[in-house]
């Protein structure tokens, strides 16, 4: 993984930069000790590491603004960080950067059930947003697998999704407003408790901009009333193609499950050994979850069973208890850790048109054979968001490189069939060099021009998202 050469002037100015930061923040909010900054050397993409110049942990928007204004004046790159769970290297530092962690800003500022919204500081974790309202029967819908740890700041930066986004949408569909700090220290409010300001949809462009346009310190989020209940059904099939066709029929029938999750045989076996969810032994497994009152759930599941029966499932089992439901989801949600027990793995995130599912799964298996690597597939089938998990051995020379090459081939395949490189994890550094497969130079340039507007000096998370050679002239002009 190539990263830009650190700016020698910034490196040599470390003492001055740290001294300057200390005038802006309390003593415990600036970290420059080599051992302590090492804790921030990577995020969830742990194969790549680099210790930053310094780390700041502000507690207020004013402190964030002061830090950014100072770094702007000093031409110091800033890498924003939520909880550091990015699988794409979105929070990975460079040696000449200041990491700005929002983790200490985790307060709930306002809970408003009449208007169905919550305002939080963005260091708050995803699950604890729901935690703040669930006693009153509400929840925050986007549910990335890392929801116990990941911060709303990172969710907004990456426009995170999750298993239940089929019904409720991803972060951008649940974000009503932000307090944004630009790299020059300007603080602005965009959106709020009201919907859809006329004018350009700045909220829409900020969500998913991977921390390159500004630092979001507060967010107004849509919360929803919890459904009366939810229950999944497990459907097993003897071929991926058949499972894919069943997904398509369910969607077309006008039932709106909250989630349709797909696992292939390697994934089913590994998850079963880990979570003992009672998954059937089959080629392809669907978990379809529906919501509502007990009678509504029965009605929807009956309809789903009728549809599934036409595809000759090898297994069809409704969850009958809360405990069973929990175990079924534990199996699915711990797929990554389950695979992680038996191998090192790399998790991809390409999205494809649902109709291409069987073809793409077949090609992935063929490509895996070519490289001699095993791939387990688990994904959000309702929206075509795949998570191929490529297994490799990090201790074996050349295996990581082989894995990356296979990953790149799979993502190019996703683009070829009309899909995209990433559905919910973001580009970060991981997929940066593949952007040319999806965007031609004009399409890429249009995006760079957006960054020019928000961050003319290209100091905010500058080495991410776009290929380094494409952004070189802009970054060096800073």
């Amino acid at each position: 993984m190539e990263m830009p050469k650190p700016d020698p002037f910034v490196l040599s100015s470390k003492a001055r930069i740290v001294a300057g930061l200390r005038t802006l923040l309390p003593a415990d909010a600036v970290i420059d000790d080599a051992l302590e900054t090492k804790a921030y050397e990577c995020d969830g993409l742990a194969a790549y590491r680099c210790t930053p110049l310094a780390v700041v942990l502000p507690r207020t928007t004013d402190e964030v603004a002061a830090v950014l204004k100072f770094c702007h004046a000093m031409n110091v790159p800033v890498v924003p960080r939520g909880s550091g769970t990015s699988l794409a290297g979105g929070a990975m530092p460079t040696a000449d950067c200041v990491v700005l962690g929002v983790g200490r800003m985790n307060a709930v500022l306002d809970t408003d059930y009449d208007n169905r919204l919550i305002r939080v500081q963005t260091g708050r974790t995803n699950l604890s947003v729901t935690g703040a309202v669930e006693q009153d029967g509400f929840f925050y819908a986007p549910d990335p697998s890392s929801q116990l740890a990941c911060a709303i700041a990172g969710n907004i930066a990456m426009n995170s999704g999750g298993a239940h986004c089929l019904k409720y949408g991803v972060t951008t569909n649940n974000l009503l407003g932000v307090k944004l700090v630009l790299m020059d220290g300007t603080v602005m409010d965009i959106g709020g408790g009201h919907l859809d300001a006329p004018g350009l949809d700045l909220l829409g462009i900020i969500c998913g901009s991977e921390g390159q346009l500004g630092v979001v310190t507060e967010a107004t989020l849509r919360i929803l009333a919890k459904p009366e209940g939810a229950r999944p059904i497990l459907l097993g099939f003897d071929a991926n193609e058949v499972a894919g066709a069943c997904v398509s029929d369910i969607i077309k029938a006008g039932i709106l499950p909250v989630a349709i999750e797909f696992m292939d045989r390697p994934c089913i076996r590994t998850c079963e050994e880990y979570a003992h969810a009672g998954y059937p032994d089959c080629e392809a497994l669907l978990i379809v979850e529906v919501e509502g009152s007990p009678a509504e759930i029965d009605e929807q599941l009956a309809h789903i069973k009728t549809i599934a029966a036409r595809h000759n499932p090898t297994a069809m089992r409704e969850s009958t208890s809360e405990d069973e439901t929990k175990r079924i989801w534990l199996g699915r949600k711990s797929a990554f850790s389950a695979i992680g027990r038996i191998a090192d793995y790399m998790c991809l995130d390409g999205t494809i048109p649902v109709s291409s599912l069987p073809f793409v799964l077949r090609r992935i298996a063929e490509l895996g054979d070519v490289y001699g690597l095993k791939v387990a597939n688990v994904f959000h089938a309702g929206d075509g968001n795949m998570h191929p998990l490529i297994m490799f051995d990090a201790n074996k020379a050349g295996d990581l490189e082989k894995c990356e090459a296979l990953g790149a081939d799979i993502l190019r395949l996703c683009v070829e069939v009309g899909g995209c490189l990433t559905g919910e994890h973001g580009v970060g550094v991981e997929k940066r060099d593949l952007m040319g497969a999806q965007f031609n130079p004009d399409d890429m340039e249009a995006q760079l021009r957006v960054k020019d507007v928000f961050d003319p000096k290209w100091l905010l998370n500058p080495a991410k998202v776009f290929p380094l050679d494409v952004t070189a002239s802009r970054r060096s002009a800073a």
Binding site: D112, D196, A225, E296, E299, H425, V453
Partner: protein, 376 residues
């Protein structure tokens, strides 16, 4: 007037333009007429890809909305965001195009379920102000690859580029719908009921007030019967189903109550509980229809001279007020805060460096050296 029939031709026209262009789909939604040569998009027409099994539609921007609706209805599918038909309200003839729908982010009652036009839009192709052909997004449901220019284009009123093709995720038409109807005199009491219903687990797809509290549920037949009964038990009211229910929501969507009536028409978006506060402050001479749980307030103001007061109130509450129909000397769009206006202006300068695409249409950011006359 120019009317390109291909993206390349459109690109040539924009490259060769030496003055402002007034971009026009069906001419049923634009709030102001921009001075400049009319650029009609109707030549860029037709469905490029429709995959019912994947709930995906890709369609050229000049395609009539009616053609899209017909094609989807044949598969019992629809655009989930319930496109308002504003012809009655604005006194327009003509046929709405899908590009105009996107350019104005036209979103109906189902907005409360996270179903704005911008939420269902998954891809765009466009030609920017320099004549460069661009694409963003695609035809898949989830896509975080690069910046989300798709959202930026929704509601941009053509000021960043001329849309040539748009892609949507679709919704299957549910088996049944029902509406709970309860006459309520006071808007504050009505919005309290809407909040209560929206805070229930019954998954409303419409929550409006027009003198009656209106609560819609959609889905499978048994579920709709169950939830409408539960809502009726919660707040009272009668249950209306099927076509009668659909007719109620078409009326709310199109603000049919105001069509043909004299006065200025405002579209105000505030926090739902601020809707009644606004109405109380404005006084009884103002008529209203409230959607989006009370947060979208349509105002009919007989005198038409309340612009400063309305915008002042909305500024205090937090929100925005769009003048949909009314005096030409009042800006149609709510003034933006300085930092937002600065960013928006800079974005327009990037995508339309000569300031020739619908200049001035969105208000206080007329590009330099392109004077425009704004008429209604």
């Amino acid at each position: 007037m120019v009317r390109p029939s291909t993206e390349e031709e459109l690109s040539e026209i924009i490259r060769g333009a030496n003055g402002p262009l007034h971009i026009r789909g069906g001419g049923t939604r634009a709030l102001r007429r921009v001075a400049g040569e009319v650029l009609e998009t109707g030549g860029l027409s037709g469905i490029s890809l429709y995959e019912p099994g994947a709930l995906t539609l890709v369609v050229k921007a000049g395609t009539p909305l009616a053609e899209v609706d017909t094609a989807l209805a044949a598969e019992r599918q629809r655009l989930a965001f319930e496109v308002p038909d504003l012809r009655g309200l604005l006194g327009r003839a003509g046929a709405s195009t899908i590009g105009g729908v996107v350019a104005t982010n036209a979103s109906g009652p189902r907005r409360i379920q996270g179903c704005a036009c911008r939420d269902n839009l998954i891809g765009v192709r466009l030609v920017d102000g320099a004549g460069i052909i661009l694409k963003n997004g695609g035809r898949v449901m989830k896509n975080v690859t690069g910046y989300d220019l798709v959202k930026l284009m929704a509601g941009a009123q053509g000021t960043l580029g001329v849309l040539t093709e748009v892609a949507f995720k679709l919704q299957a038409v549910p088996e049944a719908e029902a509406t709970v109807v309860l006459p309520v005199a006071d808007s504050a009491a009505a919005v309290a009921m809407l909040s209560r219903a929206l805070g229930s687990p019954y998954d409303l797809s419409g929550a409006a007030y027009d003198g009656r509290v209106l609560l819609r549920v959609e889905g499978m037949a048994g579920s709709v019967a169950y939830r409408s009964a539960a809502l009726s038990a919660l707040i009272g009211g009668d249950i209306v189903t099927a076509a009668d229910s659909a007719a109620i929501w078409a009326g709310i969507r199109d603000v049919a109550a105001f069509a043909g009536r004299v006065g200025a028409i405002w579209r105000v978006s505030v926090k739902p509980t601020d809707g009644p506060v606004l109405l109380a402050a404005l006084g009884a001479h103002v008529d209203r229809v409230m959607d989006w749980g009370g947060g979208l307030v349509w105002l009919l103001v007989p005198g038409g001279d309340d612009a400063v007061r309305i915008r002042g109130l909305v500024n205090r509450l937090g929100g925005h007020a769009t003048l949909m129909r009314g005096p030409a000397d009042v800006p149609a769009f709510h003034p933006e805060t300085a930092p937002i206006a600065a960013l928006s202006q800079a974005l327009r300068a990037q995508f339309d460096p000569r300031g020739i695409l619908n200049p001035g249409l969105m208000g206080g950011d007329v590009a330099p050296a392109s004077p425009t006359t704004v008429t209604s």
